[in-house]
């Protein structure tokens, strides 16, 4: 039985939940670079196209639109750093915790025994930086847990480790 009364001492509302002794592991710092490159790849062409379209009206309009797009990209970049920093995962004795999100904060607890299969994927950019994304699937469609920006060696090692733990603790549906 969960006792809501005894929770007052745990009131760490700002830092998000999780026991104090949980040590959060973070994705590689290269993840921020990957996200920045992604943002730049989107922002650059968008600014150019926006500028060209705006130029049909007047040169000033074209420059204004391009500048606005670049400004939006820069603002997003500031946000990216916080978002990347929000990722974290912790391996506990019986389950894996994954946290993410700045605006909407999420924290998932996935028991090792519930993992049906584990994916390691890497897009072209991630591959170039030597990163990979780990995804954990359970029988529930709603539980999506992933850890982006792991170094590919670490991702493979974590996958094998989770798979072994999952096999050891597997439970029926």
């Amino acid at each position: 039985m969960v006792d809501p009364g005894g929770a007052a001492s745990l009131g760490r509302k700002e830092s998000g939940p999780g026991e104090p002794e949980v040590s959060w592991l973070r994705p590689s710092p290269l993840l921020l670079r990957a996200r920045r490159i992604e943002a730049a790849v989107v922002t650059g062409p968008a600014a150019v196209i926006g500028g060209l379209v705006g130029q049909v009206v007047s040169a000033a309009a074209g420059i204004a639109i391009a500048a606005a797009v670049v400004l939006a990209g820069l603002l997003a970049e500031r946000f990216l750093a916080r978002r990347v920093a929000s990722w974290g995962y912790a391996e506990r004795n019986d389950d894996l915790m994954v946290r993410r999100g700045v605006l909407i904060r999420r924290l998932s607890v996935i028991p090792y025994g519930r993992m049906q299969f584990i994916d390691v994927t890497a897009g072209p950019l991630e591959r170039a930086l030597g990163l990979a994304t780990l995804r954990m699937h359970t029988a529930a469609a709603a539980s999506d847990a992933r850890i982006p920006g792991l170094e590919s060696g670490a991702a493979a090692a974590l996958r094998d480790q989770l798979a072994a733990l999952g096999e050891a603790q597997a439970a029926g549906l």
């Binding site: 039985m1 969960v2 006792d3 809501p4 005894g6 929770a7 007052a8 745990l10 009131g11 760490r12 509302k13 998000g16 939940p17 999780g18 026991e19 019986d94 389950d95 605006l103 909407i104 904060r105 999420r106 924290l107 998932s108 607890v109 996935i110 028991p111 025994g113 519930r114 359970t138 029988a139 529930a140 469609a141 709603a142 539980s143 847990a145 597997a170 439970a171 029926g172 549906l173």
Partner: protein, 489 residues
């Protein structure tokens, strides 16, 4: 075996599992042990074919529409002979295709595995370990009922409906027999799907036993738990959203016709009206005569007017139970009780209803629901811990419903704006636990905890708790769930 009177003396309250005389469900014959075909469906390892008429049933619906379209075209283009030939070619091709598909489809039960092979060019061989079966359904479409055929559907865990097995079609008696045998074979390990190894070894003595034992004893032990009242079902469906839509459409049509004074203006409303009526009919057809019976091999569920469905949910395979109380129904004290079983249903016609769970009680009184709930879950807790008062700012419409509770076996959470939804989740079925906090919730110091279970997007949502309490829930539930899992096996 299907003679008058029950198969044996029935004690008080122990009804034999057969339709009562006032029920229009087809009289399901008790499987005759002397019936040669039914005798050894699951016992020998030989390959079986589906019923020769099954292509007709499978293609029934498409064939009908095809025929209608082709006849229409043929009538319109009577002077052109070429079209008639083309139509015939299409029909013959469809028939030949169905026949070939029947010819190359075969199935077998051997070594604890149901195997279905099909496909001419692209062979498709599927194996369903019996120990992983979540539920077995016997579905009869209208055409299949006329021909005495039935479709057997095997549900395996996984949200993807393509992963289940269909045997369409078998003779009804064979399908019933096979269902019983599959469930008996599947019940060999008491627990879940964890240890597949011992199950896969085929034990010949076991199916003998399974065949002999359940019939007299199992049927007598079956108890009818609930039977829906037809008039109440009809009224209740009219009081739901599609019903209200139908009413609005009808009133709008009438008003338009009234003001314009000509009947022609209602033409635009006809497609809408048709869609609404079809939706209402589908629901009525699907839920008509829902009967819930507790039997030895699980909860049996029968329903349907034209197309009948008989499902068997194995004990311990229920992922979640949900009690739904829409606004208007609450005035009558009515509610709907749904269960979620891992593995979605196979019926193509059900696509629109995929989001709705299977209703054990399409509409019933609260005491019906309480009775059935007590049968499904052992002393389930009631949602008694309301959300903190400041949750009103974040969820003004649903605040009065938000509450939750848990014991060491179940978690229950209530939510909903107009329609109150109470979800019970057995802790041993919890797949993952998610804590979510949106910006408004953060300002108010609230958080939501989701408990995900297998199957469709079903989760018990403990909404808008005090952040500290949510921490506590998140810290405590994984351990409680683990304890429940290890208890369950």
């Amino acid at each position: 075996m299907t003679g008058p009177g029950p198969a044996g003396p029935s004690a008080d309250g122990l009804l034999p599992d057969r339709p009562l005389p006032d029920r229009p469900l087809p009289d399901r014959p008790l499987p005759d042990p002397q019936l040669p075909a039914a005798q050894s469906l699951a016992r020998d390892a030989s390959w079986h074919r589906l019923h020769p008429l099954s292509p007709l049933v499978r293609a029934g619906r498409q064939m009908m529409s095809l025929l209608v379209v082709l006849t229409g075209i043929a009538v319109l283009n009577q002077h052109q002979d070429g079209n008639l030939v083309a139509d015939l070619v299409v029909i013959v091709a469809a028939l030949v295709g169905g026949f070939v598909s029947w010819l190359v489809t075969r199935w077998q039960v051997a070594g604890g595995v149901l195997r279905i092979d099909t496909g001419l060019l692209r062979r498709d061989s599927r194996r369903f370990p019996l120990s992983q079966i979540q539920a077995v359904d016997v579905v009869q479409t209208g055409l299949a009922r006329l021909l005495g055929l039935a479709e057997l559907q095997v549900r395996i865990a996984g949200g993807d409906s393509a992963r289940g097995g269909r045997l369409a079609c078998l003779r009804l008696a064979d399908a019933e027999q096979l269902r019983r045998q599959l469930l008996a074979l599947a019940a060999v390990p008491a627990g879940g799907l964890a240890p597949p190894a011992p199950v896969l070894t085929y034990q010949p003595g076991l199916s003998d036993q399974a065949e002999a034992a359940p019939d007299p004893a199992g049927r007598l032990a079956a108890r009818t738990l609930f039977r829906v009242r037809t008039t109440r079902l009809a009224v209740a469906i009219l009081l739901t959203r599609p019903g209200a839509t139908a009413l609005v459409v009808a009133v709008a049509t009438w008003l338009t016709a009234q003001f314009s004074g000509s009947a022609r203006v209602i033409a635009p409303f006809l497609p809408v009206a048709f869609g609404v009526v079809a939706a209402l009919w589908r629901r009525f057809n699907g839920e008509y005569g829902t009967t819930v019976v507790a039997a030895q091999d699980g909860i049996r569920l029968r329903s349907g007017l034209v197309q009948t469905t008989a499902e068997t949910i194995r004990p311990g395979r229920i992922q979640a139970v949900r009690l739904v109380e829409p606004l208007v129904w609450r005035a009558f004290g009515w509610c709907r009780l749904e269960v979620d079983v891992a593995g979605s249903r196979q019926r193509r016609e059900d696509r629109a209803e995929g989001q709705r769970l299977r209703a054990l009680i399409p509409v019933g009184s609260r005491s019906d629901a309480g009775l059935l709930l007590a049968e499904l879950l052992a002393s389930p807790p009631l949602p008694s811990q309301p959300a903190p008062a400041r949750a009103r700012w974040k969820a003004p419409l649903s605040y009065h419903f938000l509450s939750w509770n848990s014991d060491d076996r179940y978690v229950v959470a209530a939510r909903g704006r107009v329609c109150r939804e109470t979800t019970w989740v057995p802790l041993e079925k919890v797949q993952s636990i998610r804590w979510v906090q949106g910006p408004v919730q953060r300002r108010l110091g609230l958080a939501t905890v989701h408990l995900d279970v297998a199957g469709r997007r079903v989760s018990a949502r403990i909404e808008d708790r005090d952040a500290a309490e949510a921490h506590q829930i998140l810290a405590a539930l994984p351990d409680l769930a683990r304890a429940a899992r290890s208890r369950a096996g």
